[in-house]
C-alpha cells in the first residue's frame, strides 16, 4: 500500500517556484479552455489570438507597455506596503487624488513656469497628494486603530466622489458635452515614443523606482520593513517603531499611485475625466485594484512585481484584441485572468509543501 504525506518545505528553490508558476498558468489555461469551449469558441485559436494580441505586433507590444506603466508604479509601491503588512487597498483613490492634483497644477497654477519645471511640479504634487491621502490611514491606524483595509478602501469612494464633484462642478470645462476638464496645454502633455502611447517619462520613473526598490533591500529601512513584516513583535522588541514603518510604506505606496495618476492624465488622456484610474474601461477595474494582484503575483518583490506588471498588462491588452477580433466577451477574458491568478496563488502555497510517498505505512 502507498501512503501520501504532506510536509512543509523549508526553502523552495527558485527553479521549483518558476516551474510551479509555469504549471499553474498552464492549468489555468486548460480550465479556461473548457470555459471557452462551452461557449462555442475554439480555445486554441483564441489563445493564439490572445498571445499575438500581446506580443504579435509592434503596436500590441507598445500597448502592453503603455498599460504596464501605471501597474508598475502602483504594483511596486503595494509590494513594499504588503511586505510591511500595511494592507493598502486604497491605490485607486490615491491614484485619483494624484490625477486630480496633477491636472490642477497643470490647469490652475497661478504663476508661469517653464514647461519642464511645470511638468516636474505636476509629478511632485501628484506624489505628495497621493502620499498624503494614504498617510491619513496610517495616522488613523496608529491613533485609533483604524483597520487599514477598511480605511484605505473607503477612502477610494471619497476620492471618486471628489473627482465627480470637480468634473460636474467647478472644474468642468464649458462648452463640452462631457464632464471633462479643459484639455491640458500641449506643452504639459508628456511626449510619447513615436507611433505609440508610451509616455516614456513616466516609464523611466517606473524603472527608476524598480532599481531603487532593488537597492532598498540593502538599506536600514529595507531591513526594518522586513523585520516588521515578518514578525511585528520582534520589531517592537528591537525598538523599531511600527508607526514609522507603516507611515513610510504608506507614503511611498500612496505617492507612487499618485505618480501613476499624473502619468495617466498627462500622458494618455490629456484631460481629467472619469476613468482616469483605468476603471470602467471594458469591465476592467481600476489599475489600483489590478496592482494588488501584481504585487501578490510578484511575491511582493521589486523585480517580481515588475515582471507581473508586464504580464498582467499583456493579458489586459490581449483581452481587448480577442474581444475585438473574435467577439469573445471581455468578461470571459477577465474570468481567465482570474483563473490564472487563483492557480498562481494556489501554486505559491503548494510550493511551500512537498508530498512524500511512503511504502507500507502499515
Amino acid at each position: 500500500m502507498l501512503g501520501l504525506k504532506i510536509e512543509k518545505r523549508v526553502t523552495p528553490s527558485l527553479w521549483l517556484e518558476l516551474g510551479i508558476s509555469a504549471l499553474s498558468i498552464v492549468i489555468a489555461l486548460l480550465v479556461g479552455s473548457l470555459l471557452l469551449w462551452t461557449q462555442g469558441f475554439d480555445p486554441l485559436h483564441i489563445y493564439l489570438t490572445l498571445f499575438s494580441g500581446v506580443f504579435g505586433s509592434f503596436s500590441a507590444l507598445a500597448e502592453t507597455l503603455t498599460k504596464t506603466i501605471p501597474l508598475l508604479l502602483i504594483g511596486e509601491g503595494l509590494a513594499l506596503a504588503f511586505k510591511a503588512r500595511a494592507w493598502n487597498i486604497g491605490a485607486p483613490g490615491q491614484m485619483i487624488i494624484g490625477a486630480i492634483t496633477g491636472a490642477g497644477v497643470a490647469l490652475f497654477l497661478p504663476f508661469d513656469l517653464p514647461a519642464p519645471a511645470h511638468v516636474a511640479l505636476m509629478f511632485m504634487a501628484g506624489f505628495a497628494a497621493g502620499a498624503g491621502f494614504a498617510a491619513i490611514c496610517a495616522f488613523l491606524n496608529n491613533r485609533i486603530g483604524l483597520d487599514m483595509v477598511i480605511g484605505t478602501l473607503l477612502l477610494n469612494y471619497v476620492a471618486l466622489k471628489l473627482l465627480l464633484y470637480l468634473l460636474y462642478g467647478p472644474w468642468r470645462a464649458p462648452g463640452i458635452g462631457f464632464p471633462y476638464t479643459a484639455p491640458l496645454p500641449a506643452s504639459l502633455c508628456l511626449p510619447t515614443l513615436a507611433g505609440t502611447r508610451i509616455h516614456y517619462p513616466t516609464l523611466i520613473i517606473g524603472i527608476a523606482v524598480v532599481l531603487i526598490f532593488v537597492l532598498l533591500t540593502r538599506t536600514k529601512l529595507g531591513y526594518e520593513v522586513r523585520v516588521f513584516g515578518e514578525n511585528p513583535a520582534a520589531a517592537s522588541y528591537a525598538g523599531i517603531s511600527s508607526f514609522k514603518i507603516i507611515m513610510s510604506v504608506m507614503i511611498i505606496s500612496g505617492g507612487l499611485a499618485g505618480l501613476a495618476g499624473v502619468g495617466e492624465v498627462a500622458g494618455i488622456h490629456h484631460v481629467l475625466k472619469q476613468g482616469v484610474d483605468g476603471a470602467g474601461l471594458a469591465y476592467v477595474s481600476s489599475y489600483g485594484y489590478t496592482a494588488v494582484i501584481v504585487a501578490w503575483l510578484g511575491r511582493r518583490s521589486a523585480l517580481g512585481s515588475a515582471l507581473a506588471a508586464f504580464f498582467i498588462a499583456g493579458i489586459l491588452t490581449g483581452g481587448h484584441g480577442v474581444q475585438l477580433i473574435e467577439g469573445v466577451p471581455y468578461a470571459m477574458v477577465t474570468a481567465i485572468l482570474g483563473l490564472i491568478l487563483i492557480s498562481l496563488i494556489g501554486g505559491a502555497i503548494l510550493s511551500q509543501y512537498k508530498i512524500i510517498m511512503e511504502r507500507n505505512p502499515r
Partner: protein, 498 residues
C-alpha cells in the same frame, strides 16, 4: 515496544528503541530536548506511525493508527499543553472526550468524575469552568479525562513544567497512589531530580537512541546526566562573590495594567546594582510578563518610576531602552526574540543594525554583518547549517544561544532574562547559566525571571517573590529556604514568615 524506528527528513528521531512499562510501575523516560522522547510516546499514542518496529500490549501485537485506537487499548496521554475549552465546565470538558451522549453530556459524566476523583484524591469541582482553574487544577482535569476514558497506561509529558513545588509534591503522591492500584505510568521529563524522586525504572534516550534502561535505585544524578548529555555535567555553577557596583535599575511603586485592563503589577519597587543578579520567583502569570514589558518600553506604566542609571526612563520607547544598553532575553523566544523567516546573520543584528559597523547612513554593511555572524556563531557555539540559514531551522537551545549572543555581546548595562533556560536540556542550560554569570562578572546588572526555583536560588544574589502582581518579599538568596520561597509564591508575605 520493540525496535521502534522513526525517520523525519534529515533526522533519525527514534533508532531501534526498545521500551516497556509494567503494570504498577512508574517508568521515567529521560532525555534532552530532541532526544526522541516525545516522538516515541507519540508513536505509542497513535499520533505518528513508526517506520519499523512493533508494539505489544498485554503480550498481544497491536497496530495503533490513531489516538482513538490508543484510547481503546487503554493508553492515555496527558500533553504538556492542555487541550481544553476554557469557557466550559470541567464536566463538559471531560464529557467532550469520553461521552457519547448527544444532549447534556456533562450531567451523566459528573457522577463518574466524582467517583474517580474520590478514588484517587484528585479533588476538583466538576462545575467549575476551566478558565477559573490554576495550571495544577487544569492538569488534574486532564488526568481525570484520561482516567474516565478507562486508561490503564498513562503517559505524562513533562507534567511538572508549570507547577509550584507544592503542586508538584501533590501530583507525585497521586501518581504513587495510582501506581499502587496497578496503573502503568510513563513519565517523560528532562529533570533528573524528578526521575530519582518518583520513578521505579528509567530509560535514557540520547539523539534518538536508547542509552540504557535500569532500575532507578541503581542510578545517580551524575550517571543519569552523563548518559543523557554524553559527557560530564556541572550541576552547581560556581558563583564567585563579586563586589557590587552602583545602582543600575531602580523601580519605584510601579503599577502596570495587564492585557484585559486589570492591574497586573501593583506597587512594585526594587533596585539592582552592577554585578548583581536579582531573581524574580513566582508562579506563571503573577505579573512577571507585564513587569518585564514595562521595563523594556513594551508596556505602558500607569504609576511609578523606572530609573536607569539615574535617568528617568518611565514610559520611554523600546528604542530608548535598546539605546540605553538594556538587553532583553524574552520569554517567547521564537515569537518575539527572533524573526524565524530571516537568516541567522540578520537575526544577529536585530538590535545593532542601526549603528556602525553594521550600517552607514543608509545602507547595511554586509561584510561586517557576515563577519559578525561567523564570530558569534563560533564564540557562542550556535549550531546552524550556515549563517544564511533561516533561524527557524535552529533547535530551541540554539535559538536561545543566538539570542544570548546578540544580547550579551555588546556589554549591556542591564540584562533582563525571562525564563532563559525554560524547556532546554541540561547541556544548554549549563552553557546559558555560564554566560549569564560571565555577564555578571563583566559589570552587568541582571534581572532573572524564572519559575525554576533551583535556578533562581542558584543564580541570584537576591530574590524577589511576586504573587498576584505584588512583591511578597525581597531576600538574600543564601538566607532563605525553598519552602519559604514556595510560601511566598502562594501569597504569604515575607514579614509573616520571618
Amino acid at each position: 515496544m520493540r525496535g521502534i524506528t522513526k525517520r523525519f527528513p534529515g533526522v533519525l528521531a527514534n533508532d531501534h528503541i526498545d521500551f516497556d512499562v509494567k503494570a504498577g510501575e512508574i517508568h521515567a523516560l529521560l532525555g534532552e530536548n530532541g532526544a526522541g522522547k516525545t516522538t516515541l510516546m507519540n508513536i505509542l499514542y497513535g499520533l505518528y506511525k513508526p517506520d519499523e518496529g512493533e508494539i505489544r500490549i498485554h503480550g498481544k501485537k497491536v497496530t495503533i493508527r490513531s489516538p482513538k485506537d490508543a484510547i481503546d487499548l487503554g493508553i492515555g496521554m496527558v500533553h504538556q499543553l492542555f487541550k481544553q475549552v476554557p469557557r466550559h465546565t470541567v464536566a463538559e470538558n471531560i464529557a467532550l472526550a469520553s461521552s457519547s451522549d448527544f444532549f447534556f453530556p456533562g450531567s451523566k459524566v459528573k457522577e463518574k468524575i466524582l467517583r474517580i476523583s474520590e478514588e484517587f484524591g484528585l479533588k476538583i469541582d466538576p462545575d467549575a469552568e476551566i478558565w477559573q482553574l490554576s495550571a495544577a487544577e487544569r492538569q488534574k482535569v486532564e488526568i481525570l479525562k484520561v482516567l474516565c476514558r478507562g486508561a490503564e497506561i498513562l503517559i505524562l509529558d513533562e507534567p511538572t513544567s508549570t507547577l509550584t513545588p507544592q503542586d508538584k509534591r501533590e501530583l507525585f503522591s497521586r501518581l504513587k497512589e495510582m501506581k499502587k492500584k496497578g496503573y502503568a505510568i510513563i513519565f517523560i521529563t528532562h529533570k533528573l531530580d524528578e526521575v530519582l524522586e518518583i520513578s521505579d525504572r528509567v530509560t535514557v534516550l540520547r539523539k534518538g537512541k536508547k542509552v540504557k534502561t535500569l532500575p532507578t535505585s541503581e542510578a545517580t544524578k551524575r550517571s543519569l546526566a552523563m548518559w543523557m548529555v554524553g559527557r560530564e555535567v556541572l550541576f552547581r555553577v560556581k558563583k564567585k562573590t563579586v563586589k557590587k557596583g552602583e545602582t543600575v535599575l531602580e523601580v519605584k511603586k510601579l503599577r502596570v495594567l495587564g492585557d484585559k485592563g486589570e492591574t497586573a503589577v501593583k506597587e512594585v519597587s526594587f533596585s539592582i546594582r552592577e554585578r548583581e543578579i536579582l531573581g524574580i520567583a513566582g508562579i506563571g502569570g503573577s505579573g512577571q510578563r507585564e513587569l518585564i514589558e514595562a521595563l523594556t518600553g513594551l508596556r505602558k506604566v500607569e504609576e511609578g518610576e523606572v530609573i536607569l542609571s539615574g535617568k528617568d526612563m518611565t514610559n520611554a520607547s523600546p528604542r530608548k531602552f535598546v539605546d540605553a544598553a538594556v538587553a532583553y532575553i524574552p520569554e517567547q523566544r521564537i515569537e518575539v526574540g527572533i524573526v524565524p523567516t530571516m537568516n541567522v546573520k540578520e537575526n544577529l543584528i536585530l538590535k545593532d543594525y542601526r549603528v556602525p559597523p553594521f550600517s552607514g547612513r543608509v545602507f547595511l554593511n554586509h561584510v561586517a554583518i557576515s563577519r559578525n555572524a561567523q564570530e558569534k556563531i563560533s564564540r557562542y557555539n550556535v549550531i546552524t547549517p550556515s549563517p544564511d540559514s533561516p533561524a527557524s531551522l535552529l533547535s530551541g537551545g540554539n535559538i536561545q544561544r543566538l539570542i544570548l549572543a546578540r544580547e550579551t555581546s555588546s556589554e549591556p548595562k542591564l540584562l533582563i532574562a525571562a525564563y532563559p533556560t525554560y524547556g532546554l536540556d541540561v547541556g544548554s542550560i549549563e552553557g546559558i547559566r555560564g554566560l549569564m554569570l560571565e555577564q555578571r562578572r563583566k559589570k552587568s546588572a541582571i534581572l532573572l525571571v524564572s519559575e525554576d526555583l533551583d535556578e533562581i536560588m542558584m543564580m541570584s544574589d537576591r530574590i524577589a517573590v511576586i504573587y498576584e502582581g505584588k512583591i511578597m518579599g525581597i531576600v538574600d538568596a543564601d538566607k532563605v529556604s525553598r519552602e519559604e520561597i514556595g510560601l511566598m509564591m502562594t501569597g504569604t508575605p515575607w514579614s509573616e514568615i520571618s
